[in-house]
Amino acid sequence: MSGDDPRVTDDWQVDDRVVAFETEYFEVGYDVVERPDGERSRYYWIEPADVVAVVPVTDDGDIVLVEEYEPQLDGVTLGCPSGGIHDGESPADAARRELREETGYVADDLTELLTYRPEQWIRMDCTVFLAENLVEREPDRDEGEEIAVHTVPVEDAVDATLAADVVHGAQVTPLTIAIAEGLS
């Protein structure tokens, strides 16, 4: 498998992009696409801000996880700190900000691991960072934001996130990515 494989994109033509509705957080709409067989189809999507996820590792080698109620999924999630990238902010700046806001930790070393697209309906990328050499400060949370911060040994971290009330992939997959990249 390599980049030399024949690509399957050549005969797809996007004829139009229609925004059907706008919320304060995302646009929802569809592309009108002419397929290789000549048929025209609508392909629906939403487009929110891109996000970052941070895998914070303490000097003891433990992972810092956050637990909070997630109103969109109506349940309690447990996983890596994560959140949306603000306008004009770089992914790395967003990662530092989210880490500080949610956990209080400030990272001396931040390494970008990977950018991935979590699923097909949503035009949103998640950039994953490893955060090391952590210094503990006061968390800087929004009013009403209630977050419990846990430190968990690496070998227990994935099981802990999978045991949450709601398993939120954008806070779990980054952890498995970091482990696959050699975190142990």
Partner: protein, 203 residues
């Protein structure tokens, strides 16, 4: 959830009681659909938080989906590449698709694997179920399939995809090489790895 700072959890948060309910202080006071298409509705819940403030939380509600980590006898996994009209770009990922009404995740995975690639799975098991993002009220399941026999695919009109097999390590490297990588393939392979079903060496 205490929210009063750091707790050092012994092991995987073992202090958390099984019947802990942190949702008591959050109350859904309204739920509205603002737009619909044949595949999902977009809308919001108005939720009263613990501080008494009411906020809107937006969502979409597509059908649940399944991805299949299908391992052939020689220790390779099956991946598909297809243009995705929703994302407007080609994606390399595991076979899979939407779960039909009343269908189990495992049955849907075995069906999608057969339809997309032609492989018939003799054995299949559920690995994990998660929500890929907080925006979509859509569960993503990962199914691990083995005992594969080849056959003809049964694709929809206009469905156009290429099927490859490669070692898990080579597939992971190929997924990583795309920017952005497609998360469903990546998360599925890594979930099978975490579950001890798939092992691989990275190049």
């Amino acid at each position: 959830m205490t929210g009063d700072g750091e707790t050092d959890a012994p092991g995987p948060l073992s202090e958390r009681p099984d019947d802990a309910d942190d949702t008591d202080d959050w109350r859904v006071v309204d739920s509205e659909v603002v737009w619909e298409n044949p595949y999902f509705a977009a809308g919001y819940d108005a939720v009263e938080g613990p501080d008494g403030a009411v906020q809107r939380w937006y969502w979409i509600d597509p059908a649940d989906v399944v991805a299949v980590v299908a391992e052939t006898d020689p220790g390779e996994v099956v991946v598909v590449e297809q243009y995705d009209g929703r994302l407007g770009e080609p994606i390399l990922t595991c076979p899979g698709g939407a779960v039909d009404d009343g269908e189990s995740f495992v049955d849907a995975g075995v069906r999608e694997l057969r339809e997309e690639t032609g492989y018939r799975a003799g054995e299949a098991e559920l690995v994990s179920v998660y929500y890929p993002t907080a925006w979509a009220r859509m569960e993503q399941a990962v199914v691990y399939a083995t005992e594969l026999e080849t056959g003809d695919p049964d694709r929809d009109d206009g469905e156009h995809l290429d099927v490859y097999t490669a070692t898990p390590g080579a597939v992971l490297d190929a997924l990583d090489s795309r920017s952005p990588a497609f998360g469903v393939g990546l998360a599925s392979l890594l979930a099978a790895r975490e579950a001890g079903l798939l092992s691989f060496e990275r190049s």
